[in-house]
Symmetry: C2
C-alpha cells in the first residue's frame, strides 16, 4: 500500500518515523489539505489534485486504514460514500501549517502571489508557529535533543 520502507518505520520508537509512515508523501499531505478545504468525494479530490485515479484510490484507502480519514454515507443520500477527517486527521493541522509557513518563507519570491491561511473572524494570517520549552523559552534544533527510550535491562 505505502511506499517502500514505510513498513519498518511503523515499528520505530521515533514518533517522526511513525508519522512519516502515515503522511510522509506529498499526495497524502495534499489529500488532507483538500479535506480541510471541504473535499469529500473521490471526484472532489480527483478534480482538485489532478491525480491518477489509481494512485488517489490507493492513498485514500491507506489514509482510511491509518485512521486519518473515515468513510461515511453521502450526506445527501446519494450512492457515493464520502471521506471525512477523523480526530487524528484534524490533529494534522499543525503539520500542514508548519509546511505552509516553511513554504511561505522559503519557496516564494518576494511579492509572488500565494494563498494565505487566515482566521475566520478577523481574516488575518495565522501567527508563525513557535516551538517552546516547558519554561516558555523558544527552542530550535540546536537547543533540543532527542532522548532515546529506555530499554529493558
Amino acid at each position: 500500500m505505502s511506499s517502500p520502507g514505510a513498513s519498518a518505520l511503523r515499528t520505530s520508537t521515533c514518533p517522526v518515523a511513525r508519522a512519516t509512515a502515515v503522511v510522509g508523501d506529498r499526495w497524502s499531505l495534499l489529500i488532507v489539505r483538500e479535506a480541510y478545504d471541504g473535499a469529500r468525494r473521490f471526484n472532489d479530490f480527483q478534480r482538485r489534485l489532478g491525480m491518477a485515479k489509481n494512485i488517489l484510490s490507493g492513498r485514500l484507502r491507506a489514509l482510511v486504514a491509518d485512521g486519518v480519514l473515515e468513510t461515511t454515507p453521502a450526506a445527501d443520500g446519494g450512492p457515493y460514500h464520502e471521506y471525512r477527517l477523523t480526530e487524528a486527521g484534524l490533529d494534522l493541522f499543525p503539520v500542514l501549517v508548519a509546511l505552509r509557513q516553511w513554504g511561505e518563507a522559503h519557496a516564494f519570491a518576494e511579492g509572488e502571489p500565494r494563498s494565505e491561511l487566515v482566521d475566520d473572524r478577523a481574516g488575518r494570517p495565522v501567527v508563525p508557529l513557535r516551538v517552546v520549552a516547558a519554561d516558555g523559552r523558544p527552542v530550535d534544533a540546536t537547543t533540543t535533543v532527542v532522548r532515546k527510550p529506555r530499554t529493558a535491562a
Copy 2:
C-alpha cells in the same frame, strides 16, 4: 529527481504544495531529522537510515538543489564532503516537531516506549504546538480558511 507530480507543485500558489515538492516524502524528512541529530556524511545517513545508496544519493542531491542542505569540506580535512543544514533546513524544525507530536498522539499505544524531544537545559519535553490567530486565539482547521491570491484583472 523528485517523485512524479512534484514539478507541477513547484509553481502552485499554495505554500503547502511548494513545501511538499521539497520535503514531501518520508526519506527527505528523515534525512533532515538525522541532520538535526548530527549526521554529516553520506555514510552517517546511510548507516542510520538503512536506505539504498542510490536513493539516498538522489535525495541528498535534491535537498542540496532545493537549498535545505549544503555541502562543505570535511571538518577534519578528510576527503569526504559533509552535508550541513542551511538556514532553510533549520527552519524545517516546526515541521519535524509537528510530525513528532502527531506521531506521539496517534501512532503509539499507551506506555509504548518512544523517543522524546526535550530542551537542552531542563531536559523536559517541548510543549505541544499551537496554531494561533493574530489575536492570540487558538485556531484549527474549522476556524481558519485559505484565501486564494488575487489575480490580475
